[in-house]
Amino acid sequence: MFSGLKIGRGVTWFALIAAVVLTIFPFYWMVRTALTPAADLYSDSTGLWPQNPTLINFARILGLVDAEQARAAGGSGAQIDFLRYTINSLVYSGLIAAVQTFCCAMAGYAFARLRFPGRDLVFGIVVAALMVPPIFTLLPNFVLVKQLGILNTIPGMVLPSLLMTPFAVFFLRQFFLSIPRDVEEAATLEGISRWGMFWRIVLPMSRGPLITIGLTTIVWSWKDYLWPLLVGKGESTRVLTVGLGVFLQQSPNRAPDWSGLMAGSVLSILPVLLLLVFLGRRLVQSMNFSGMK
């Protein structure tokens, strides 16, 4: 077999760079469209940079200009407030990630380390819930939230995933099983309580996996659409994904307001992108989690 190493390397680098360009270019196009005045889209839809770049699209979807100006800039004039949607998205995903990770860490620790009758049975039952697809519990959960009278409230939106997901419990238990017992045993000799052990010793030791699962939960809740659409479509609890959907529906009879929509899309990416910039190393390396033996 021959190995045309030099040519081979060139071709491989080319393939990798092509993959990155294919991945990133659509997002560039999103930004480019968001910076284009809506009126220009027909005459100026192919150049790599808009002829008259503007920030008006961001201003109008954030509600920073009055309805008159928004209509003039290509909006439908209907009320749209992406600032509020962004805040709602942050609250929704932040709350779920923080509380869920904490509760699941407690349970994961108990399943891994504490000894009491029924433990493994309960663990088996909780993990079996992995087999039930979300759409199945979604219908009755909607009915439940409706019956509790908390449709279109933040509690109604976060409650079903606030306390646990079977996956997080499973994941964290596996992790706690894998850490050495020595430290805990040393602490036990000093008479520390179970809670003290968990709170002061185990949690700080487990920062890595906790951040991993927390980050993953933030990303997934940030992306949530169907559930917040069903229970939180009202203006005051609307999250970004739902806001984008509603925004799109507001222009059913004419061409969609693409420059406004792309400005909204940019907003829906910005926070998670910041996450990638600041925590990218951890996020990317958490993909290696499976590589830990």
């Binding site: 993959a19 439940l144 499973f170 959907g245 899309s265 829906s268």
Partner: protein
Amino acid sequence: MHAVEPRLDAGAGRRAGLPGRRGGPRKRRDDRLVGWLFLLPVIVGFLVFYAYPTVRGVWYSFTDYSLLNDPSYVGADNYKKLITDDQFWNALKVTGYYVVVNIVSQTVVALGLAALMHRLTRSIVLRAALLVPWLVPNVTIGLLWAWLLDPDLGFVNHLLDLAGLDTTLSFNSPTWAMPLVALVNSWAYTGYTALLLYAGMLQIPQHLYEGAAIDGAGELRMFRSITLPLLRPILALVLVVSLIGSFQIFDTVAVVYGGKPPIPETRVIYYYIYQQAFTYFHMGYAAAVAMVLVVILGVLTAVQMRMLRASRSDLG
């Protein structure tokens, strides 16, 4: 959706069931009370938002329920209706089509990318760039591609024009709609899948490649004889997890039609359930259709759990 969450766990579970790790602390304590206290929030969450709705969902599937009236028991009527419901069978069929196109394209490209990275670079920036679409809501991805594929102004169709092609790609074309939806989602998840496979490849001992290189093996040969066989357990796991996620396609088709229902060629099973439940208020029937999805995904998940336990990679 949280549906695809287990994607992260490509093999973390290999630590499960390790023998000899279960031994208790040397000093026995009575953990009974404190144990249940630690579990309390999770048990409450589980009972109220997983167990109870599951039982309720099964019950609904045997009732006639419109959200406005109380559910009334109708026996197996919903399931009988299912068998003769063409739209249901069509939904299953197009979902299957979607899953095949999505999984095949995504896995093949991801495998190639992972192999290239593995043999060439450890660059974090490159990996982070490939991860970007995974961070983005499917709704945004759907919108973005609806714009790129806009028949009049979309950039992709502009490129096709430049290339002198007559075709206009559109989500409204019965022929192109489903492949497009599938490829858009492949685009979104290929980088993520590649990173998982890449992580698996990092476990393969470097000396195997060095040895093969000394024996004069080329890169392709190494890929076939070293990478692929040793990656198999992780590849299988990633595949099953992607499959589970793939069956739950919803957001994209819900968005690319501008809020109108998708055309029959893209009316996937998840959307059909949603439509039955929240457009027509046939909660009972929607629950019955959802039961079918439960069975399909249940089988796949059972396979996945088995793999998590069994597949301590061949490298041991």
